[in-house]
């Protein structure tokens, strides 16, 4: 792929009043049929298309998006990237993604601003600390960087953190993954869109899938708001809307769609140079390169597709953030929003073939799929191209919900985000 973004191109185009820039991606109108159609132009869907084209040589691909590309959860997440998951299946999948992250900017010729500033998962109870120890040891054995820090060391590294013993839930220690961090969410979607488009992938926005043409247990096409599109291979990557698509195919999903909220503060001078997560106190924070604190809130208990949640969740999170960082009490929330997350019973994704031949689902990432974006696209592309799961996503099939082989990341590992 030609690397046409560089300091040099900025200079050259700048001299000509920036008039010479090409579209980052082509906006396509739907063709009557495609070899593969991906439903959902979030990070995962676009990454899937990109890897299908790049690794599997399939170029006749459409990515169909009901709104604007990257406008789903990709646009609304707190961008935490880490791979320190407990169970082998999850850890290896997320680590696969993390490795891809580490070369993504160069691969896409698009700076996704992947900032490996490290991720802390705080422990506040003895049980938290046992879980942290367990997870860190598992990570090490899986070749994932992780360490356990005691409260003194945590305080040394994050001086603004409240480690007082008189806190309601004092910080007892933390796990730390140095290679974890954050990335610029929009850039991930745009970077994949641009790279996929260069391979000839059609990106079709403002086109909603409204029905599926299924006969004899195989899929032959999609009904959309922009007409029928034929294809015998369809990958659905619709996060919060996965149940809606599954219903079109007559499949039931072990998914509930809940609002998950986040908010940002006003932009401030740097005060927090890492990512801090606390499950027990329910707050997550990092500071973006622009200076605003990016804070993840809790999940609404009730399901909803409204992309907005209840304010008491935000209030609780603000309280948690002050409990962790008392100096933020006078800092102000600038904007608050919600996304619709597709939660599964075991807090692990579904990357799977279905009963319908040619129909594949990649969903159930819930509160934490952004970090998996390149990895998820990569293994899903494999699954679609080969009609066979990649070894890394074998365990994430739908049949685990009848065999009982759940990969329960709820239990010990800090799941959310």
């Amino acid at each position: 792929m030609k690397k046409d973004y560089s300091f040099w191109s900025l200079f050259a185009k700048g001299l000509r009043h920036n008039e010479g820039w090409d579209p980052a991606w082509r906006s396509a109108t739907p063709k009557p049929s495609y070899n593969v159609v991906i439903v959902g132009a979030g990070g995962h869907g676009l990454a899937t298309a990109y890897y299908l084209a790049k690794d599997h040589g399939i170029r006749d691909i459409a990515v169909i998006e009901k709104g604007y590309l990257g406008g789903g959860n990709t646009a609304r997440n707190t961008t935490i990237v880490r791979s320190n998951y407990l169970w082998d299946e999850a850890a290896l999948l997320y680590e696969h993604a993390l490795k891809l992250w580490e070369g993504l900017t160069e691969d896409l010729n698009f700076n996704v601003m992947f900032s490996q500033r490290g991720v802390f998962n705080l422990g506040h109870t003895l049980q938290d600390m046992r879980d942290i120890e367990r997870r860190v040891n598992a990570n090490n054995l899986n070749g994932i960087d992780a360490l356990v820090l005691d409260a003194i060391e945590v305080k040394r590294r994050i001086p603004i953190l409240n480690t007082s013993k008189s806190a309601r839930y004092p910080v007892l220690g933390a796990s730390f993954q140095p290679r974890g961090g954050i990335a610029r969410h929009d850039a991930v979607a745009w970077g994949f869109a641009r790279a996929a488009s260069k391979y000839g992938v059609d990106i079709i926005e403002n086109c909603e899938v409204t029905g599926m043409d299924i006969a004899d247990g195989r899929i032959s096409g999609l009904e959309t708001t922009r007409g029928t599109i034929r294809s015998e291979r369809v990958g659905c990557v619709a996060s919060g809307h996965s149940s809606v698509l599954a219903k079109m195919a007559g499949i039931r999903m072990p998914i509930e769609s809940h609002p998950l909220q986040a908010f940002v503060s006003e932009s401030m001078k740097p005060v927090l140079d890492t990512v801090v997560m606390s499950n027990a106190v329910h707050g997550y924070a990092s500071q973006s390169d622009k200076g605003e604190l990016v804070i993840g809130a809790g999940i609404d208990h009730a399901t909803s597709y409204t992309q907005r949640g209840s304010p008491h969740i935000i209030e609780h999170t603000a309280a948690a953030i002050i409990e962790l960082f008392p100096i933020f009490s006078r800092v102000r929330m600038n904007r608050q929003w919600g996304g619709i997350v597709d939660t599964t019973p075991d807090a692990c994704p579904i990357i799977s073939k279905t009963k319908v031949k040619g129909l594949y689902f990649n969903c159930g990432w819930g509160t934490g799929g952004f970090k998996a974006t390149p990895g998820s696209g990569n293994v899903f592309a494999h699954t679609i191209a080969k009609d066979e799961p990649h070894p890394l996503n074998k365990a994430f099939s739908l049949d685990r919900f009848s065999t009982g082989h759940l990969i329960d990341e709820h239990g010990a590992a800090g799941v959310a985000h």
Binding site: F110, S267, D289, E315, F328, D408
Partner: protein
Amino acid sequence: MTDFRIRHPNARVDFRRPLSFSFDGQVYPGYAGDTLASALLGNGVRMLGRSFKYGRPRGIVGAGPEEPNALVQIEAGPLTIPNLKATQVELYEGLIARRTSGWPTLAFDLKSFCGPLSRFMPAGFYYKTFQNQKLWPYFETIIRQAAGYGSAPEEADPETYDHRHRHVQVVIVGGGACGLFAALDLGRSGLNVVLLDEQNEMGGWLLSSPHTSIGGESAEAWLRAILAELQSLPNVAVLTRTSAFALHDMNLLLAVEQLQDHRPLAERSESKPRQRLHRIRADRIILATGAIERPLVFGNNDLPGVLTASALTTYLNRYGVAVGKRVVLQTSNDHVYQGACDLARMGCSVVLADTRSRPNTVWEQRAHSAGVDVRPGYGIAAAHGGRTTHAARLAKLDGEQNTVLAPGPLIECDVVGSSGGLSPTVHLYCHDGGRPLWDESRLAFVAPEMGRAEAGIFCTGAVTGTFGLQAGLEQAQRVTDAVLASLQKSATRKARNLETDEPDSIPARRIFRVPDGKPEGHGKKAFVDFQNDVTAADIHLAVRENYRSIEHIKRYTALGFGTDQGKLSNVNGFAIAADAMGKSIPEVGTTTYRPAYSPVTFGTLAGAHEGDTFEPRRYTAMHAAHVKRDAVFENVGQWLRPQYFLRPGEDRDAAVRRECLAARRTVGIMDASTLGKIDIQGKDVREFLNRIYANAWTQLAPGKCRYGLMLDENGMVMDDGVTACISDRHFLMTTTTGGAARVLTWLENWHQTEWPDLDVYMTSVTDHWATAAVVGPKSREVLAKVCSDIDFAPSAFKFMDWREGTVADVPARVFRISFSGELAFEINVDASYGPHVWEALLEAGAEFGIMPYGTDAMHVLRAEKGFIIVGQDTDGSMTPFDLDMAWAVAMKKPFSFIGKRSLARSDTSAPNRKQLVGLLTEDPTVVLAEGAQIIEQSDLEPPVPMLGHVTSSYFSPELNRSIAMAVVRDGIQRRSEEGRKLGRDAVFAYADGKTHKVKVVSPVFVDPEGARQNA
């Protein structure tokens, strides 16, 4: 220093009350009633900061929440506040403000060197550069240092916050003419009304146009009368300094009231909160939030000294400040004329470029007579200046197309104002899913008058695009009638004179970007969003690069991302994007309006939920007794439990050792009050328990207890505990400390939704009972001393029996159960008597050396016996069989108990699952880490297959060696005898870089026959 004050009587500042304040270290005078912005402008201070990307000088643009530039840091130390808009900071004596941008100094800003390079830093600049992942951290550090406005405090917040939940019939947001008028009518009808406004006084735009006459009265008099009447109505609450920042589902309005920030530091009340969050649930909401004037976009429109025209008017009329003496205004509409006239009358020279070739003739006349030089058909191509504005270059515009016909004159001036029309403040209307409508005749996104009436949301005034005052008041009347009707009431009002002196308005010109005769990107920078340095050219570039959805444009350029959330910039941005794409504005649409309308402190959001009241701490009745004995506490769920009791000279290990040995050798006592206790009664109790628990309850006789395992429907252990049969129809269930509430809800759920026909009721009695576990070989003797009405003889009171009696003169239930494997009794009394009984037991036990012990010792004692702790030795993926507890599962019960079916699934019933075992290290002094991973080989080349993990691990004082419990793949087969035969009993435990060889054994380390507990 020049004085820009015009001390006229209509000003809302009190010229008899001078104040002094400082900005960036320089002291200035001001007056009570000033904002920091008006006071600075009154002193001729123009430049307040530098721009985010290019370091360009920036000054005040607006006069309210729309301000994008003038972000200041107020005060220092723990009271400091970052990023306040100078236009919203009320002045008080001694106020200290500092700039938040401009480094190293405001006058000399390093970033300004980027200015000339700006053409190489267009929108999307970052994405196209810094592509080396190794070097990126260095670039990133530089980028981060350059970004950000104010600074967070460095200390915890000394002030407090609270919430207030209000439930009202009507809440009215906005105390401008329309909101006030609505409040009056609704208040008179006796409704329960809250009227709020974010400003320090009610009046809205009327405060900026005091000469306007309403029904023959001056606006000022009209206002005074309404406010006086509102104050007299007990059913109307009027809240000033209260900003509604969010509207949520079902008419929940969130507003934050400022209670302290406007007061001098010394006058702030210690007992009152700084800010209060009002959570207002209203039957009806009236949004009378007005409109904010948007500027026009033109070259160098970001110079200090370029403001919105209405801001100039507000500074003049409301604050008595003429921002400049030589004013050039440009407009697309009629709104500016009043202000232009006012400025001229107050002695300013005013040139007014009306982009329309035919202005409103009435206004034109009025302007002429006030001395305003009106230039029809002209716009401002560019402002000139540096740290302030010196001149404006006009351009003759085409009457139809937004193009330049001819260059116009360069007019020297010291201030420029522009008006591109009013943008209704539709934010709240849109927060819970409402969409604003584009009104082409008013060139505005408006909220409809009937809002979403079916949901109880109504709108009136400028927010609906009704920009005329008289029309607004008439509308307010209509809307109140509709609100009243919807509440089955009607207005009782006499006809009144609402006539104003406004001329009929004529349409505005559809212009957003004033042309300068050059292609976009070639001329002077024309800013759309000041805070994020987004120019018109950036928007064009985004469109060229196919970022054509308005959301992409926003995200690519950062349009509307700032602390002003695009109040001035968004509509201009949408329009410029529409033009660039050849689309109409409604086709382009708006970005999503989200809370907060104005930023709100985390402290306010948290309210009282910080410090001591962050989350409940639950205490047992004996808590004081534990504190007295130097207990160190552990959080278990919300409870505080003694973890161990420190004696002088001891560390944790020594204390735990002492406590354990007491329980094993003589007698210990533990506060077990936190265990959940659920009283269950009814004739179907046994059947109910049979369904809920894995084991069987049909045979348990009164006076007996039994341990039970509770599974979830997925077959995994979710809770455990001992349940006692009080009578055939009465059982007492105990649950884990953390699980109590969940289990009760679980029981109720099954009972209410699935088995309502079962005759059972359950009630939590957790708090009623205080529980003391007396544990150890001497426990029987201790109890005998304080209890004479129970026969403690081993044959009369057996293990797993319970008895009713009197302990230390208090009625008690005594359970002979044991979580330590020792002879033990749990004494339950009414918690009011808990402290008494506790002390009595300690007194009675003194001769045996009784010692209180905490959860640490409890853990060791139970692990020595291989007893599990749900949540520690299990993690939601363990079945009873995995725990080797088949004895606690009655597979033959007729009803398929909860979780049973799941146990039979292919994976759940697989033979080689992870199973609970004991572990012994080769070196008895090594205590494994809890959370150590079990591996087959000691080779550590990743990925290393893992067999399980250590769940519990302690040094056992009784055995004088370490012990551990673990879940290990196929663990049961690996245990001692069998495992040895197969050669699989040796595995390794890995933690923190070290491995230890361990032997897989039975988890029961002490007294496997149970002789002690049965003694």
